[in-house]
Amino acid sequence: MNKKPLLSIQNLTTRYPSPDGGEPLTVFENANFDIEEGEFVCIIGHSGCGKSTIMNVLAGLATATSGAVIMDEKEVRGPSLDRGVVFQNYSLLPWMSALSNVIFGVRARFPKWNRKRIRDHAYKHLDMVGLGKGTEKRKPSQLSGGMRQRVSIARAFAIQPKLLLLDEPFGALDALTRGTIQDELIRVWSKTGQTVFMITHDVDEAILLADRILLMSNGPYATIAESVVIDIPRPRKRADIIHHEAYYPIRNHLVEFLTTRSETVAAEDKRSGELNRHPKTVRPGIIPKQAVTEQDNPTLQFTRDIPTYSLDNGAPI
């Protein structure tokens, strides 16, 4: 890669001291990965593998035990408006209306703007997520869970951060609402070209949204095991992508990792303590024999590094 990545995580390690003074608990160790500008990256892993801890470190709300987070060639220290965050819950201030919550963000980001400009900017982003026409005057408690997350997303996009961090933003929503907001998010994202890093538990959600999915092995001593490229062309639609030929190979690969390999990979892989080890790139969406025959297939423009990955039993995916 010629271009410097927007964000680079280097040998990030977090250990929590044990309460009785014994061995500290190592949540994850020597995590390394990069995020390019404009990329949508999801991270998947089991609970307790330290996804949220990584997120908090990226947001600047927590500090890692060792390692560095470099953004724009500068080390990340403390929170910044360059990194917008949407939490699963409670990221709206409940005593303010939806509009005021967005204005709160805009005013913090653009303190020199006048009142009207701030207001218009807030309205524009509320409109973008399908809110407005009266709903913006309501308090978060008077909005449904889905609408609340829409407001959070509107606020996060409104401050135009260099990197948007989403911590399981749809985790508390029902499946139907989640679907609509995912579509909403894709629409807004494709318009803005915002760089996004998102935690999720939902494999289908990750495939729908991400350019690349990072897989985390189970903790303690968790690490970023693989970087799975999602070779499905955009624009993607929830209804259509399941028919894409790459969908199930990718999905199976992810599910297989989560159900079995996430547990064994850390135990088997003694190199997890190794420095500067980047996760291996895997492209289960590219089926090798087609790659040779269908040169003009738009999904196969990445043929230069066709994966050599196979399942443990040797069968190709």
Binding site: L61, S91, W95, F104
Partner: protein
């Protein structure tokens, strides 16, 4: 009929019954013309002292309330003037207390160090009856008026201080994180995030404080004397005018209720639902 209406009717019925019983069990004062010379000499007094009946209190209340503001010297002032003095003392002491308790409570709530350092003092000073400070206040301040205000100050400071500290310390970390990720300065965080988040708890403390201040002012004014509703009660007791005593008790209750209702209004204005 809604429950509220039913409850209102029941309240009125209870009041009428209680007043009726009170009126009936109070023997009427006999007319002076029918009294013996001895009875006249004793001022119509019976062997046992009588509590005046509600009708007498109504008459008294009408009399006092139709002319609440008059000043015929130290022993005869209108009820409005007395209440005014008491309110002045309560509010002065109360706002001085708020001036100290709110910022200090904020500091204690924000800083675990300040909390740990100040906690022993608060724990010792808080249970002291405010009236116990009175002799010391009179000695040091040498002014009965200011001493009464000081007693109000000292009694209303604790609930405000403790609730402010508690409310500030209990602000959800997610909200503080929202402020942090938006790069707000500490001052802006304090005023735009922590203060509104803690406001309902702070207002609860302020409401408890004003209640306690109103309780204490009566006792304080009985001690300091001169003016105020507490002095009025005690003065009427010395005059053996029980009708006025009962009337002023009612007035104390009503004013206390109004003060509380005012704070309830403010409290509901800052209340939010998560």
């Amino acid at each position: 009929m809604t429950t509220t209406v039913k409850a209102r009717i029941l309240s009125v019925l209870l009041l009428l019954t209680a007043l009726g019983i009170w009126e009936l069990v109070t023997p009427s004062v006999s007319n002076a013309e029918n009294m013996t010379e001895y009875e006249l000499l004793m001022g119509g007094a019976a062997d046992v002292a009588r509590v005046p009946p509600p009708s007498a209190i109504f008459v008294k209340a009408f009399e006092e309330l139709s002319n609440p503001i008059y000043d015929n010297g130290p022993n005869d002032k209108g009820i409005g003037i007395q209440i005014g003095y008491s309110l002045y003392r309560v509010l002065t002491g109360y706002f001085l207390a708020a001036l100290i308790a709110l910022p200090l409570g904020f500091l204690i709530g924000m800083s675990p160090l300040a909390y740990k350092a100040l906690d022993p003092f608060i724990q010792v000073l808080r249970p002291i009856s405010p009236l116990a400070w009175m002799p010391l206040a009179l000695f040091i301040i040498q002014d009965s008026e200011a001493s009464a205000i000081f007693v109000i100050f000292i009694c209303s400071i604790w609930p405000m201080l403790i609730n402010t500290a508690f409310g500030v310390a209990g602000v959800r970390e997610d909200w503080v994180n929202v402020a942090r990720t938006h790069e707000l300065s500490s001052m802006r965080t304090a005023f735009t995030v922590i203060l509104p988040a803690a406001a309902p708890t702070i207002l609860t403390g302020m409401r408890i404080s004003i209640g306690i201040a109103w309780l204490v002012i009566v006792a304080a004014e009985m001690l300091v004397g001169g003016t105020g509703i507490g002095y009025y009660v005690w003065n009427e007791w010395n005059n053996l005018d029980l009708t006025s005593v009962i009337f002023s008790i009612l007035v104390i209750g009503v004013v206390g209720m109004l003060l509380d209702a005012m704070f309830a209004q403010v409290q509901s204005a800052v209340q939010y639902q998560e």
